[in-house]
């Protein structure tokens, strides 16, 4: 277990996780109100991964994520209002509202999606890293994907190519044990994901994805390794999704008990407990943190509500670059 962080840092980590959690709780609420539509995949339970990993990145590093990327975009610094507006489908959204929940983009922060084809982001990440390497920039590309993506051919191909060319890619698997309704042992012949790195001559590590400090430490090792020109790594963050796969999911495939057990050592609960042990947080701290997050969310909702719809005349704008 990692060393005790200083108080400011601990408060920040807690704040970051809590901010993701509250944002998504609000999103779920807005979904049932019909403000948000289509697919909505919540990250609740997995916050320690984005909160631990993303602050390790430099501004010029790149991120490629999946349809379950709210937490990642929040951590990257895209304003919450732009994300909420994106969930609404409004012009103020980070993708002009065109992408919705699954397709957050923020080029200014090198956030390349929000991609919704499972494993489809891995080749993109490899290419981004290739461009950095060819341009002699000491940047890394963080590529997030789920355990289900590991079964896809593109996982294999991308691991091989990144390792072969020693590209600065961080393959970050958020192993929440399920691909939609299918438990990992029902689709992986060998469910130890980190161990797969060996087949590509790449370092692999299993990390407690419920422990934000462990995530941060592993991420730092992998990023340093890549930045020093030693090529990619695979990190398997063991975590769990507390909510349904998407808002359409009736959760027939797992029992409540299993979910409750994981919740009992959830990333926020867990870290709060440790902060109490370390005596670096008071009830006032927590209350003012919640209050600040609450205000930020209220403002984000207000921003989204106020943001206009994209005019229908602009429908085909940006299919191609303007002439």
């Amino acid at each position: 277990m990692a060393n005790e962080p200083d108080r400011d840092k601990a408060l920040k980590l807690l704040h970051d996780m809590l901010r993701i959690r509250r944002f998504e709780e609000k999103a779920a609420e807005l979904y049932s109100l019909g403000k948000i539509r289509g697919f909505l995949h919540l990250y609740i339970g997995e916050e320690a991964v984005a909160a631990g990993a993303i602050p390790v990145l430099q501004p010029e590093d790149a991120i490629v994520a999946t349809y379950r990327e709210h937490g990642h975009a929040l951590m990257r610094g895209t304003p919450m209002g732009a994300l909420m507006a994106e969930l609404y489908g409004k012009v103020g959204g980070c993708s002009r509202g065109r992408g919705g929940s699954m397709h957050f983009f923020d080029a200014s922060r090198r956030f390349f999606g929000g991609l919704a084809i499972v494993a489809g982001g891995l080749p993109i990440a490899v290419g981004i890293a290739l461009a950095d390497k060819m341009q002699n920039r000491a940047r890394v590309t963080a590529c997030f994907f789920g355990d289900g993506a590991v079964a896809e051919g593109e996982f294999h191909e991308s691991m091989n190519l990144a390792a072969l060319w020693k590209l600065p890619v961080l393959f970050l698997c958020e192993n929440n044990l399920y691909a939609m309704g299918t438990e990992i042992h029902r689709y992986e012949s060998q469910a130890n994901i980190a161990a797969k790195a060996e087949g590509y001559g790449m370092p692999g590590e299993t990390v407690d994805g419920m422990d934000v400090l462990a995530v941060e430490a592993a991420m730092r090792r992998a990023a340093d390794h890549a930045r020093a020109g030693n090529g990619p790594s695979l990190l398997e963050f063991q975590t769990y999704r507390f909510r349904a796969h998407s808002m359409y999911d009736a959760e027939l495939y797992r029992n409540k008990h299993e979910v409750e057990e994981w919740k009992a050592h959830g990333p926020i609960k867990n870290f709060k407990g440790r902060m109490h042990e370390w005596k670096c947080m008071t009830n006032d701290d927590l209350e003012s943190m919640e209050a600040a997050i609450g205000r930020e969310i209220d403002e984000a909702v207000a921003f989204a509500e106020a943001s206009p719809w994209e005019p229908i005349e602009d429908l085909t704008k940006d299919v191609y670059a303007p002439l």
Partner: protein, 327 residues
Amino acid sequence: MRKLTYREAVREGLREALLADPRVFLMGEDVGRYGGAYGCSRGLLEELGPERIRDTPLSESTFVGAGIGAALNGMRPIVEVMTVNFSLLALDQIVNNAATLRHMSGGQLSVPLVVRMATGAGRQVAAQHSHSLEGWYAHVPGIKVLAPATVTDAKGMLLAALREPDPVFIFEHSYLYPQEGEMEDDPGSVTLTQAAVRRPGSALSVITYGGSLWKALKAAEDLAAEGIDAEVVDLRTLRPLDRETILTSVRKTHRALIVDEGWRTGSLSAEITAQIMEGAFYDLDAPVDRICSAEVPIPYPKHLEDAAIPQPEAIVAAVKRMLGKGA
């Protein structure tokens, strides 16, 4: 006749097929414990067990290819590719293997495979989840392509597909799953060779299929209220096309409008236009027109998605324009 949803109709078809023939099995992502992304196989794992209802890894190319292999070797696989969007990952197996093996082997091999997938937009799931690529499939010799639009066809065409000796691809418009309809008697006797005139009319032929059928029928109803009597043809089978039914309708009405949710350029609507050009040119009183999707990755917000895909209002307006009735 009884009422049920399209989803239930598919499930009935699956269940009957599985009960009737031990060679039939269902495989795909989340068809088992989850019950199918659209619920089409809910309960089947519990009833029939994991040998017959197989959850697969996320490996589209391989489980479609495995379906081909199993079909070559005595089974009657039904492969569910969750949606057409993901079927792009399996196109090599489909085009290079499923479609070629019989011919390329000089007639020795047979691939009696059924692949089902959801297609289409309209559920606000944005650019990567809203494709309508059944027109691509209809381009490929060696396979058959179905687009059931009614609950009877949803069940009946599946059962009929399982009697085919060649690979059959069934496109189920995702918008239809929760829709209710009347199940006709003996759905298993439906044909795979004939388009259906869903609404006879005289003023003009609206030719369509799948999810767009209901928009065309809605438009025809609105037009009828204004005294315009449109015929609506449901293609049902996209490959091979039932040229005769199309041409018969056009020869009668002398005008055709095609409604196709594919992007306009290069969609199936173009092929239908070409077949009308070739077979009924001298019968036409006006050029064939098309209502298709805008040439754009389908956006998430409802107002933009609605604007991007065919709508009854656009059909009504096009019909009136073609008939010179102002808009």
